[in-house]
């Protein structure tokens, strides 16, 4: 990096008192190079950011449009007739409030339980030496690698024998035992976190007469806040957007979560569009196929709004926590 500058330095002979201009020239050169460098850096960052924000902007913009705006090629981002009508239609069409309640129970319930159980298990792995530890640890990794679809049939039969279908128990109970959606990953995150904490903390507590569980509960668990935040956000988000487990275990519309309701709404909308298109074809009339994209996008916005709000509040601590939680492992 320095080589060209160094050569110039030699050529200009900076020891010469008369080369005030040469020194200035070098400073300018260095500065301008670093300015160009950071300009380029921010240009790349900004354009990548655009790709990441793009779907959000797309959804917001489309959800505020009327059908004629969607069809209008001159309308790019800002709708000509601004209205929140889509939202009020979709609010009913996707059974928003019951869906929200169901999503909240499965996501937040499972997340809370996973924090508790995965933290206990992670602590056990991180701080105790016992025979068979490595084997169990290998099995934790193994659990993470088994596709959930491989065991869905026996689990479904198991849960239906227990009459747990159409309840929240298939989500909550596995979470209670450190399993559930990506539970193994959360155990691994906690293991990494507890490994980094100094042993002195526990030794002090032990000397003061606290047992293993008290030491864990009063000293170590409260310290794991960064890992908790990471696990909590991952768990909530993944549960919230998951359709695989809900469509397997929640079969009646009363229990559908938001993602399921959205999928149902989308299916019905597509069917309607097909019907209209077919009818138009049959009658020979040239009718533009109606679009419900604006309504579907409003539905998507409503579905992820709670998660976006949550992220808005925790994102500042979130990335910090990732760095402290040792998610990267060794």
């Amino acid at each position: 990096m320095n080589a060209p500058g160094f050569a110039l330095l030699k050529k200009l002979n900076l020891n010469d008192p008369s080369s005030e201009g040469a020194r200035w020239q070098i400073t300018v050169m260095k500065r301008s190079r670093s300015i160009i460098g950071s300009l380029f850096y921010y240009l790349v960052l900004l354009s990548l950011s655009f790709v990441f924000v793009y779907p959000l902007l797309f959804m917001i913009s489309r959800s505020l449009m009327q059908p004629q705006d969607v069809a209008d090629a001159t309308v790019q981002w800002v709708p000509k007739s601004f209205s929140l009508e889509n939202y009020s239609i979709v609010l009913d069409a996707i059974h928003y409030w019951p869906g929200l309640a169901n999503s909240a129970i499965t996501s937040f319930g499972s997340a809370a339980l996973q924090i508790m159980s995965c933290s206990v298990v992670g602590y056990g792995f991180a701080r105790f030496q016992f025979p068979g530890r490595d084997l169990w640890l290998a099995l934790v990794v193994f659990t993470f690698l088994v596709p959930p679809q491989t065991i869905v049939v026996p689990l479904f039969i198991f849960f239906s024998d227990l009459n747990w279908i159409n309840t929240h128990l298939p989500f909550v109970v596995p979470s209670l035992f450190g399993h559930g959606l990506k539970g193994a990953l959360f155990v691994l995150i906690f293991i990494q976190f507890y490994r980094r904490l100094p042993h002195v903390l526990e030794e002090a507590a032990r000397i003061d007469g606290a047992g293993a569980f008290r030491t864990y509960w009063q000293i170590m668990f409260p310290l794991a806040r960064p890992a908790m935040l990471v696990v909590f956000l991952f768990s909530v988000v993944w549960h919230w957007n998951d359709t695989f487990e809900p469509t397997t275990y929640l079969l009646v519309p009363e229990f559908f979560n938001l993602a399921q309701n959205l999928a149902v709404f989308n299916g019905v909308a597509n069917q309607n569009i097909d019907q209209v298109a077919q009818a138009a074809q049959a009658s020979g009339a040239i009718v533009q196929a109606p679009t419900l994209m604006n309504q579907i996008m409003a539905g998507v916005m409503l579905t992820i709004a709670p998660i976006l709000l949550l992220y808005l509040f925790v994102q500042r601590y979130f990335v910090e926590s990732i760095e402290q939680s040792g998610i990267a492992g060794e």
Binding site: L56, T150, D242, A259
Partner: protein, 292 residues
């Protein structure tokens, strides 16, 4: 006396350790080991719903054979899943590493950019991603707008342009899939001591050399973690065709036996892929250790 006490502490340690993880072990048998065994058992049977529960008839490896011989969807979908994974995982790794390196630089708005880079984890996952794909939001408008397509067509034949643009579209998906991996790399980069770079700089190393001699070996474990995570993720994603096929077989046609067999084939397949990755990494990891 002394010896006895030490022994009892050790035993206590073992008991305590096991009581912490017993919760997980219990769940492991209940929600993984037993279902896995049962799914293997089912895969050798044909299960038919009857008034008194499911009626099972032993059919041996019939389901495994029919996956390869009678099912017209299985092999093509398997191949499609494999191609997607093989093309996307390396891109995800490269992209997330570059992003992490950029975000690790000290600059204005670092926190903001980090938050933005993680946004797709929230938006573009699961059901929402499916809607977005369906509505064409995964296509960046630059490829569609301003007649770029038409302009490019005058230079590049359509047969090449079409897959090229599809590839460009899949790049946005790659970027959206990189959120967690970026964070893992970022966390890894934070653990590298700046002293190392200072020393390298003193010795006259360029930034390029410092990257390959310091950064790269130091984040090698994170590359492994990210590779595994990306592979597992691509195998269980909401738009994974083979998974949808499996779910259709199981819950639409109620063919539990065949569904289980397919699940097992898929599982074995995933494990072979992961095994290859582990093998490759073990070699390069031990090489990196040798250098240090």
């Amino acid at each position: 006396m002394n010896k006895k006490l030490r022994l009892s502490i050790r035993t206590r340690h073992i008991v305590e350790g096991y009581s912490f993880i017993s919760l997980w072990i219990f769940g492991f048998f209940l929600f993984l080991a037993v279902p896995l065994g049962r799914s293997f058992y089912y895969s050798l049977q044909t299960l038919e719903p009857s008034p008194d529960g499911l009626k099972a008839t032993y059919v041996g490896l019939l389901h495994y054979r029919s996956a390869f011989t009678t099912d017209v969807h299985f092999l093509p979908l398997m191949q499609q899943t494999m191609t997607t994974m093989l093309t996307q995982v390396p891109l995800i790794l490269i992209f997330s590493m570059l992003s992490a390196l950029m975000l690790n630089r000290h600059g204005i708005g670092r926190g903001l950019f980090r938050s933005i880079f993680f946004l797709p984890v929230i938006i573009a996952s699961g059901a929402v991603l499916r809607e977005l794909l369906e509505q064409g939001a995964a296509r960046l408008p630059i490829f569609v707008q301003d007649g770029l397509y038409m302009k490019l067509m005058t230079f590049i034949p359509e047969a090449i342009l079409e897959p090229l643009l599809e590839y460009a579209d899949s790049l946005t998906l790659v970027m959206w899939d990189s959120g967690v991996q970026i964070l893992i790399f970022l966390a890894g980069l934070q653990t590298i001591s700046p002293i190392l770079y200072e020393a390298a700089h003193m010795d006259g190393a360029t930034k390029w050399e410092a990257f390959w001699k310091i950064t790269f070996p130091m984040i090698m474990p994170m590359i492994l973690v990210n590779t595994l995570f990306s592979i597992v993720n691509s195998f269980t994603k909401a738009d994974n065709q083979i998974m949808n096929h499996l779910m259709n077989v199981v819950f639409r046609s109620n063919n539990y036996g065949y569904g289980s067999a397919m699940g097992w084939l898929y599982f074995i397949f995933v494990f072979i892929v992961l095994g290859v990755v582990f093998f490759l990494f073990r070699r390069s990891m031990s090489a990196a250790e040798g250098r240090a």
